[in-house]
Amino acid sequence: MELSGAEIVVQALKDEGVEIIFGYPGGSVLHIYDALFQQDDIHHVLVRHEQGATHAADGYARSTGKPGVVLVTSGPGATNAITGIATAHLDSIPMVVLTGQVPSALIGTDAFQEVDTTGISRPCSKHTFLVKRVEDLAETMRKAFYIATTGRPGPVVVDIPKDITDPTVKIPYEYPRNLKMRSYSPVKKGHLGQIKKAVELIYNAKRPIIYSGGGVVIDNASGSLIDLARELGIPVTSTLMGLGAYPASDSQFLGMLGMHGNYEANMAMHEADVLIAIGARFDDRVTGHIAHFCPQAKIIHIDIDPSSISKNVRVDIPIVGSVKDVLNDMLRIIRESGREIDNDGLTSWWERIEAWRGLGCLCYEQSDEVIKPQFAIETLYKVTGGDLYLTSDVGQHQMFAAQFYKFDKPRRWINSGGLGTMGFGLPAAMGVQMAHPDKPVACVTGEASILMCIQELATCKQHGLPIKIMLMNNGYMGMVRQWQEMFYEGRYSHSYVDALPDFVELTKSFGHVGMRVTKPSDLEAAMQEAFDRKDELVFLDIVIDPTENVYPMIKAGKGHHEMAMSPALKQGDQR
């Protein structure tokens, strides 16, 4: 088979099993777009801004586990994609981003729409390639997919100069299926000796806890985690990224940990004697002040990425390997040993945990007058019966969703945890909806976040994506306002978004359904109507209490045991 460079790009995507790509055309990728035009296997989703393309591909990847693919042009096309690439990088999301580049002969001349794409994307991607010869194109495509999807996944950028895709130059094509790279061979199996040591430590633990992260979701290890936790009967807490890997409605689940985590989860971390960290990376939003982090615990850390181990916190038993493989090995060793776990010790541990849980740290003051954001998420959970793909933007609404929506399955909670990218929610929901056309998909957002990628409402119209947008409209950048209230004596510097658009009319102008709800008593019916309109995008402008804060909270410099609790909790209940 003889193909041009442009045809090689398209054929390689087919050979990788790619069905959907997200992109935006421009001068340097016109040859590739022409090749796309002449085939029907790959569905191209035209976005309205390249940031939207990367977030959509990211949402697609998070909700399926398959790599997301992006195609954008050189210069501004590539720079617009950077935020989405960095977002995927920090959350270890497999993505292949194809960027056009000016013709090879013009590289370095400050040509029209030229930018050093590999240079800009290097620090925020897993790897970058600049294709120098059309003969290297097929192998580079294979390498990009291989690197993006194996080991600790991440975005890979392939920068393709226009002359490489010249339709008049045809070369023989064969896709290199069995690729071997001497410089890249991610481990899979964990070291058995280390795993045995970890099991021994767990058997001797009096107050163990599992701290589960996004790696469990990424490695499809949810089943193994559930089996292990149930086998041992020990508590599980999760990071923001790991929500859904362990069912939130299960009694062994303590909720999210960290800055806005549950009191019982953070207290259990503080008091634990053995911490089992699984596919988590001890992020500063999780640990609080490092000096106060798990002061009594021996730490077992399972992660595919050796550089995550002992980066922020020294660990006692590191296990490098695929989370799923290591958990399965652990389970096998435990089951084969036939040893009983010390139930007496665990009983008193669970008693303490239940006492912390009894505090009800997520309580808030309900109102008949104004919709509380917590109540809005609770209502969303009720209306959807927990069966929902929920994407989020960044801010208070993200934390409320993480606290109040009980995710029982992995890959259902889609949010930018690492980079904290406002504008992520709507385009990510497009990717999710493209991947799951028949499933309910909602995006919880704020009026500040949604405006950052609002143009994608046009993409939703063009591709018929019936996303439900749940706008928590408090007229503020809520999280910024909360910090200014707490740490800047209420000086609300530029956190008030005056001159907001009428979101209902705005949505209608894009050809969608817009609705507004202001009374708590109307909320459930409004949400129900939104989800009943199965084939339409519904934008629900939910006017919420402008002054609600996210609690509980670990403030800067504090440890897990020093949480600030909601004023809604009675004074006497606070520690």
Binding site: T118, G119, R122, P123, K126, H127, T128, L130, K132, I147, M181, R182, S183, Y184, D305, P306, S307, I309, S310, K311, R314
Partner: protein
């Protein structure tokens, strides 16, 4: 804080060197010298890198380097017996009585004078970093015109090696 010499093999490809240097700046790692050239296998480059840091930071440096896709293999030379060398080309003012004095100093340090003009020498010298520093210090400051150093390159003693 300890001085480490990392010897590493990486793919001889465009961007590989940038990946390494960008890593050091992005993560705030200190880098003292960096010396890189293709090996006998032209598809591979060897880099020798000197850094001074704590053990915790050094662990991160090696892990992060290993994580780079282009890096094939690396070792910490300073962990075992090793030889390190650096080459220096130093241009010095050599006039009147100093002509003889500088020639003598160069001989003591086993340097070679490889260029001579009416009023200057270029001296080639190899050795470890301390030796080269010492030589620069014995030349009166106003006589030093230019110093060009390669950065440290090194190899392990005995049969131990960093090869594919």
């Amino acid at each position: 804080m300890k001085r480490h010499i990392i010897s590493l093999l990486m793919e001889n490809e465009a961007g590989a060197l940038s990946n390494v240097s960008a890593l050091f700046s992005a993560r705030g790692f200190n880098i003292e010298s960096l010396c890189v050239a293709p090996t006998d296998d032209p598809s591979l480059s060897r880099m020798t890198l000197v850094t001074t840091c704590s053990e915790t930071v050094f662990e991160q440096i090696t892990k992060q380097l290993n994580k780079l896709i282009d890096v094939v293999k690396l070792m910490d030379l300073s962990e075992g017996d090793h030889i390190e060398r650096e080459m220096m080309l130093i241009k010095v003012r050599a006039e009147k009585e100093m002509r003889e004095e500088i020639k003598r100093l160069a001989e003591i340090f086993r340097g070679k004078i490889i260029d001579v003009s009416d009023n200057s020498y270029v001296i080639e010298m190899t050795g470890d970093t301390d030796k080269l520093d010492a030589f620069v210090h014995v030349i009166p400051e106003d006589h030093v015109i230019e110093v060009v150093r390669t950065g440290v390159s090194g190899i392990a003693r005995g049969v131990k090696s960093l090869t594919l």
